[in-house]
């Protein structure tokens, strides 16, 4: 069955979660029976710092409507300083995306620790709600990925 065969529009959200905090947070959300939207597709990365700006642009090109990056709280990085670099990079990249006309709010960075299952679920629900409000992100998609 073609993956893109959809009757009604549902947001596609890509979440990059760091292995040590946010991915474990998602796990905790699951085992605590907390719900978060099924539209959120989690990609596990060793550290939020692993997320190359190309990953984010690529996700948008492939039709993502929103991209969220989750990492350990600043100061708690498993690799000591990874998320500090993420913070600087993403601040600049998001500002640039805004500059070329991609709506603000389609990109987000959140700090979620392994103990914050409830927060993970809340963050994802908030983000999915925001993306649903913004609607379909058709502007940056690659035509071939939309057919």
């Amino acid at each position: 069955m073609p993956v893109n065969e959809q009757k009604e529009w549902k947001p596609k959200i890509v979440a990059f979660c760091c292995n040590w905090c946010s991915y474990a947070g998602a796990d905790l959300a699951g085992s605590s029976r907390l719900s978060y939207p099924a539209d959120v597709k989690i990609i596990r990365v060793p550290c939020s710092c692993r997320v190359n700006p190309i990953f984010i642009l690529k996700a948008f090109e492939r039709g993502a409507d929103g991209v969220i990056i989750c990492g350990c709280h600043p100061g708690d990085c498993h690799y000591s300083t990874g998320n500090y670099y993420t913070r600087r990079r993403m601040a600049l990249l998001f500002s640039m995306l805004d500059y070329i006309g991609v709506e603000r709010g389609r990109t987000r960075v959140e700090w979620v620790s392994a103990a914050e299952g409830a927060r993970f679920s809340q963050v994802m629900n908030d983000f999915a709600k925001k993306i649903s409000e913004l609607g379909e992100n058709v502007k940056v998609g690659d035509l071939r990925c939309r057919e």
């Binding site: 600087r88 070329i100 603000r104 709010g105 990109t107």
Partner: protein
Amino acid sequence: MQGISAKIISRAKELMRDGTVNKVVGWKAGEFFYDCEPYVFETEESLDGLVYNRFCAANLSKYMIKNSIATGEDSLKVLVLLKPCDTYSFNQLLTEHRIVRENVYILGVGCEGMCDIDRIRENGFKGITGIGENADGKTLTVRTLYGDGEVVIDDVLVNKCEFCKGKAHKIYDELISDNEDEGPRGDRFAGVRDIEAMSPGERFAFWKGELSKCIRCNACRNACPACSCRKCVFDNNASGIASKANTDSFEEKMFHIIRAFHVAGRCTDCGECSRVCPQGIPLHLFNRKYIKDINEFYGDYAAGEEAGQRGPLISYTEGDIEPAAVSDKGGK
């Protein structure tokens, strides 16, 4: 500018003759008089071909990556001509350990601003055969097949010279210059602010219009002194960027955003990207956006101001601005 040119040639010859240097990296007249191109002079006689005029805008710093590294057993010392703005790029490359400083002899050359032949043509000149400097230093005489005319230099400057960073050399071994530092010229962030003031839809339309002109000739990448990686991500077929033809004219966004991001914090705003673009895309507006953001978020930083600085994207503080502040409020 003409007087300084003769001085530069005689000094370069002198240094070559006494063995201080064995190569000179400078500019040579190209196919047309306004096509001055970078050239490596290896003999004293060949230095007669060296030119320094209003069309020597090319930044020679990047050429020092290859030319400052000795390949044989011979001792190598290369003379390079650097304009004030080029020294920023040179410093940045030194910071990144790309240039062997001991092998380079920097001859700082004064600059009064470089001219853009396309802007001269826009003044209605056709069949241009030559350009002469006028004694007042403010106008040029344009000789054409249909008669002579005059243009005001300030009206035909290359974009990077319109927003000149100042006439002071940041690094040099010897200086041949007869102009004084007047500090930066113009407000280089004005263009960025104009775009920021648009609505997201307008911004998107503006960049779509500009970037869809891109023919992916890679001139911006090849001329950029910061784009000096031995292996470039865009040359990797598996990167998913270089492997296919475009299906959407706006796909160029990816190339240009990533390229600008890769040089963020290292870009000295030398303006070569926009200058070499055959399609006239204002690529410097991407780099200036990053520079403006870096200045606003993390404090003023000028890449290449001095060698050995720590760039803003390879350092951090505990109290940095959160990306949420940017995505929710759209920056400061």
